[in-house]
């Protein structure tokens, strides 16, 4: 919250418009889950920081049910963040870093499952289900069309019906058409 203090010291108090300008920035800092994880580190440059952020946001904390390394307060997440940075500085590639963690903690740490025999169903299942459902709909509809090619009333039937309705004094069929 340096922004507030600096501005406040210079102008005594912050104008409403200045506050509105700062608000989204402050919100962004507070909201982004990795902010705390990144704030505690010194980076060699923006590129390193960005690479680190992407990595720790994509890796899952082994101790938590649904938090990435960036968002977790668990001690093991802090250790693994440190480890990721250490490996980055050793010059390892992203794939090597991810392999390193999978070697130790298993596929659990991956938020994006790998393409392997155990995950074929996971990757292809939804698409396959959609295709099957689509085909079923097409099949059912086309079969119904074939079974009742003249669904609705043909001309002759319509005339008969209109006449009958006229006779009973109820002539709302046209309105309904």
């Amino acid at each position: 919250m340096k922004v507030f203090r600096k501005t406040g010291a210079r102008r005594g108090r912050m104008s409403l418009s200045a506050m509105w300008r700062v608000f989204p920035v402050a919100l962004g800092l507070w909201w982004s889950p990795g902010a705390a994880a990144i704030a505690g580190q010194d980076f060699a440059g923006a590129a390193e920081q960005e690479r680190y952020r992407v990595l720790i946001e994509e890796l899952r904390c082994p101790q938590c049910q649904n938090q990435n390394l960036a968002a977790s307060d668990a001690p093991v997440a802090a250790d693994l963040r440190k480890e990721v940075l250490r490996l980055m500085r050793e010059g390892r590639s992203d794939t090597e870093i991810i392999d390193f963690l999978v070697d130790r903690y298993g596929d659990f740490v991956l938020y994006r499952p790998r393409w392997q025999s155990a995950t074929y169903l996971l990757w292809l299942g939804p698409g396959a289900l959609l295709v099957v459902a689509g085909l079923t709909v097409v099949l059912v509809v086309s079969r119904q069309r074939r079974a009742h090619p003249t669904a609705g009333l043909d001309e002759a039937a319509r005339e008969t019906l209109t006449r009958l309705l006229d006779e009973t004094g109820d002539n709302r069929l046209d309105d309904r058409r």
Partner: protein, 175 residues
Amino acid sequence: MARIKLFVPLFIFVALAALLYFGLGRDPRELPSALVGRPVPAFALPSLRDGKPLDATLFRGGPRLLNVWGTWCGACRDEHPFLIRLAGMGVPIVGLDYKDDPVAARRWLVDMGDPYQEVIADQDGRLSLDLGVYGAPETYVVDGAGIIRYRHVGVLNEQVWRERMEPVYREWEAR
């Protein structure tokens, strides 16, 4: 035939419900260990007791348990009496003191009893990270060749031992 087709959606529903039901019964906290079937990672760390250097040759000659603990870990306190019972039954246990203060750890062993054959002091957590430890306590069954055969995350108690670990341990003991 047409009758049977009518029931297809029901069959699909039942199959899906069964799949999801059994999925619910599984513990999502249990990580399938990446290290089962692989050797204990190489390490060179001091013994907690006397600082003498230890390495993976510790795990040669007969199966044993590797128990990850720390004085900061409340559940380890609950687990400790059972480890002492196991040691009394003649099961060799190697301790791995995970990110701990060695002084406090030594005092813990004096106060509460020492079930361990040897205790590895992993102060910076390097070996624990290589093992994929994500909390304590954790207990591994390591065979006589130093290969990890089973991993249990959480407190090791009578039931876990009898139902899950002992069969693995005995199997490797018999070889």
